[in-house]
Symmetry: C2
Subunit: 352 residues, 2 copies
C-alpha cells in the first residue's frame, strides 16, 4: 500500500515482475478473463494488493473500456438532478463503473462541447439529461457510444430513452387547479436554444398539455404563457409579467419547482399572498417544495428511479443489448398549501 510522493505510478508490469508472471497474466486476472488458474489469480491479486496497483484508465481507454459513465447535466443548481445522480450512483455501486459529471450549460454550443469532452475522454456510456441537441446529433453520439437520453420523448432506434410522462404530469397540475375553481390559470415555460422538435422536449410537452387541458375545459381564452426559464430568476420574471396582465391570473402552473420558487417570491413582493390571491403549482417535487414555509404543490417525478434505470440500461448495453428501450415514469400530484380554491369560489377541496 505504499504510495510515494512524486513516485512513478505502479503499472501492470510492476505487478507482473513482483508476482513473477507475465503482464498478460496480470491483465487477465484484472479483467476476469478466461484462462487463469485459481493459484495464478491469488498470486496476482496478492501482488496487486501489496503494491497498491490501480488500473490506469487512460491506458485502458486506448484498448478496451474505461469503466466510466459520463453524465451530462444542463447545470447542477437544480436539486432535482441530484436525485437523478443518486439513482445512477446507486445502480453503479458494486460495479467497477464510475460516474463523472459534466455541465452542459444553457446553449447547444456549450452542450456540444461538453458532450464532445466526454466522448474524447472515452467514457463507456453517456447519460444526457434534458439535452438541447437535435435528434440527429443525439443519434450521432449514440452511434459512437451507448447513450441514454433522459427527459426527451422522441423515439429512436439507436439510443435508450428514459422520461417522465410529462403530459400526464402537466394534466394533473392543471386539472387540480381547475378543480379548485380557478379559471385564469397561467403557465411559466422554458425558453431554449434547442433544435429538437418541439413535441419532444419536456417543457414543450408540459406547456402543450397545459393549453390542451385549458381548451378542453372551455378556457381557451384564459390561456396565458410566460416564456422565460426553468430557474428562480425565470420564474420571478415570468410571474411579474403575468401579474401585470389585467385581469391577473388567480393561479400559476410553473413548469418546474425552481421557477415556482421564483414565482412565490414575485407574488410576495407584489404584495399578494399565496394561496390567498394566487395559487402556485410546480413540477419536480424537489425536497425544498416540502418545507413548511414553502409548502409547494408539485408534480412528483421519480428522479432516483430515472437515474437508476439509466444506469441499468447502460450496463445492459455493455452486456450486448442492441435494441433500443424506452422507459417511462408515471408522475403523481403532491398537494400542499400553495394551492387553494380560487378567490370568491365556494368550493370544497376535492377528496383525493
Amino acid at each position: 500500500m505504499a504510495t510515494g510522493e512524486g513516485r512513478r505510478r505502479v503499472t501492470i508490469a510492476d505487478v507482473a515482475s513482483h508476482a513473477k508472471v507475465s503482464t498478460t497474466a496480470v491483465s487477465k486476472v484484472i479483467r476476469n478473463a478466461y484462462g487463469v488458474s485459481p493459484a495464478m489469480r491469488e498470486r496476482v491479486n496478492a501482488a496487486i494488493e501489496e503494491l497498491g496497483y490501480r488500473p490506469h484508465a487512460a491506458a485502458r481507454a486506448m484498448r478496451g473500456r474505461t469503466y466510466t459513465i459520463g453524465l451530462m447535466l444542463p447545470h447542477i443548481r437544480n436539486p432535482f438532478f441530484a436525485d437523478i445522480l443518486d439513482g445512477l450512483m446507486d445502480q453503479l455501486a458494486g460495479t467497477d463503473y464510475q460516474a463523472i459529471m459534466i455541465q452542459g450549460g444553457a446553449t447547444r454550443t456549450t452542450e456540444r462541447r461538453a458532450v464532445d469532452a466526454l466522448i474524447d475522454r472515452q467514457v463507456d456510456g453517456i447519460v444526457m439529461v434534458a439535452p438541447l441537441a437535435a435528434k440527429t446529433r443525439l443519434e450521432e453520439v449514440a452511434g459512437q457510444i451507448p447513450t441514454v437520453v433522459l427527459g426527451r420523448h422522441e423515439r429512436s432506434t439507436v439510443y435508450d430513452a428514459v422520461f417522465d410522462d410529462d403530459e400526464t404530469g402537466a394534466e394533473l397540475a392543471v386539472q387540480h387547479l381547475i378543480d379548485l375553481g380557478h379559471r385564469r390559470i397561467a403557465h411559466i415555460t422554458h425558453q431554449d436554444d434547442s433544435s429538437a422538435r418541439p413535441g419532444d422536449l419536456l417543457h414543450k410537452i408540459r406547456s402543450e398539455a397545459y393549453e390542451r387541458v385549458m381548451r378542453e375545459h372551455g378556457l381557451a381564452d384564459e390561456i396565458a404563457v410566460a416564456t422565460t426559464y426553468y430557474s428562480e430568476e425565470g420564474g420571478y420574471q415570468g410571474t411579474l409579467e403575468l401579474l401585470n396582465r389585467s385581469p391577473r391570473p388567480t393561479a400559476i402552473f410553473a413548469g418546474a419547482d425552481q421557477a415556482a420558487f421564483g414565482a412565490l417570491a414575485a407574488v410576495h413582493e407584489s404584495g399578494l399572498s399565496v394561496p390567498g390571491d394566487v395559487s402556485i403549482a410546480g413540477y419536480d417535487n424537489t425536497r425544498l417544495a416540502a418545507l413548511p414555509n414553502i409548502s409547494l404543490t408539485s408534480v412528483d417525478q421519480n428522479g432516483a428511479l430515472m437515474g437508476k434505470t439509466s444506469g441499468r440500461l447502460l450496463l445492459e448495453r455493455f452486456e450486448g443489448r442492441t435494441s433500443a428501450v424506452r422507459f417511462s415514469v408515471t408522475p403523481r400530484l403532491v398537494q400542499r398549501n400553495s394551492t387553494a380554491p380560487a378567490p370568491g369560489t365556494a368550493h370544497d377541496k376535492p377528496t383525493t
Copy 2:
C-alpha cells in the same frame, strides 16, 4: 465536418495524410509548439477543420496532458457548490481546459474512491471541495497532481488552499444574534467521518467560533450544540432536538443554509414562528435564502470567487508555479427576516 455513425475516429494520422505532412507537424500545430511556419499552421488547421478532428484525450493522457480538471464535490444537492462550479467554469472558459465533476459522498472511503478515479483518469489538476481526508492523504494526492483544497484551513507546502474565513463568518452570525438581545443561542453543526484535525475543518471552525463568542459574552452556560448534518434533514432533526430542551433556545445559528432550511421547517412544525419565537441564521447565502417567504439571514461567502480562484491557481501551477498559495475570502452578514430581537426584549435593530 463529416462525422459518420460507427466510423473510426479521425486521428492525427488522418489529418497528416490529408494535409500531406507528418504527424509530428500536426501534433506541433495542435500544441502550439515551436517550429512550425505560418503556412504549415494554416495547412494543418484547414485539414483539422475539414475532417472534424478532435484530440483523443485518453491518448494524450499517455504522454502529455489531458486538459481536464477534476472537481470533487461532496454531493451536488447543495446549491452553494453550483456557485463554485460557475466560478471555476468562468475561469476555464477561453482555455482548452474542461472541468469534470465527481461526487465524493459522505464517507472517507467513497471520497477516496472518487478522488482515485480522477487520478486514474489522469486529470491535470484536482479541486477538492471540503474533503474529509486526512492532511497526509491530501498531500499524497497533491504530490501526484496539482491540487487545490477548497474549504479547509490547514497550511500545506504542497497544495494550494482556498477558503472562507469561517471564524469571522460564524462570529458575524453569533454576534448579530447577541446584538438582537438573544442569550439562548443554539448551534447546529455537522457530524463527519473525517480524519482531519478538528481545527482545520470548516464546520469545526464555525462551531468553535460560536462557542468562543458565546463565552466572550458570558454566555458559556447557554451553549447548546446539536451535532447532525449540514443538510435539510440534519437541520430538521437538530432543531427538533434543540427545541425539546428546556428552556428552549430563542435563536439558532445553523452552520449552513441547507440545515437552516430544515430548521425553519422544524420550527414551523412545532407550532412556533420565525422570527417571533425563534430566530434562525444560516451560512452560505444560497439564492434560496433570498426568497421572500424564506428570507433567511445568512453569512455570505463568495463561492464564485472561490471557484474562479481555484481554477486560476491550477492554471498557474500548470505554468510552473511550485510554491503553495493560500487564498481567503472574507464573509459578510446578510440580514433578512428570519432574525429579530429576542422575545421580550426592548431592543432597537442595530444600524449597519
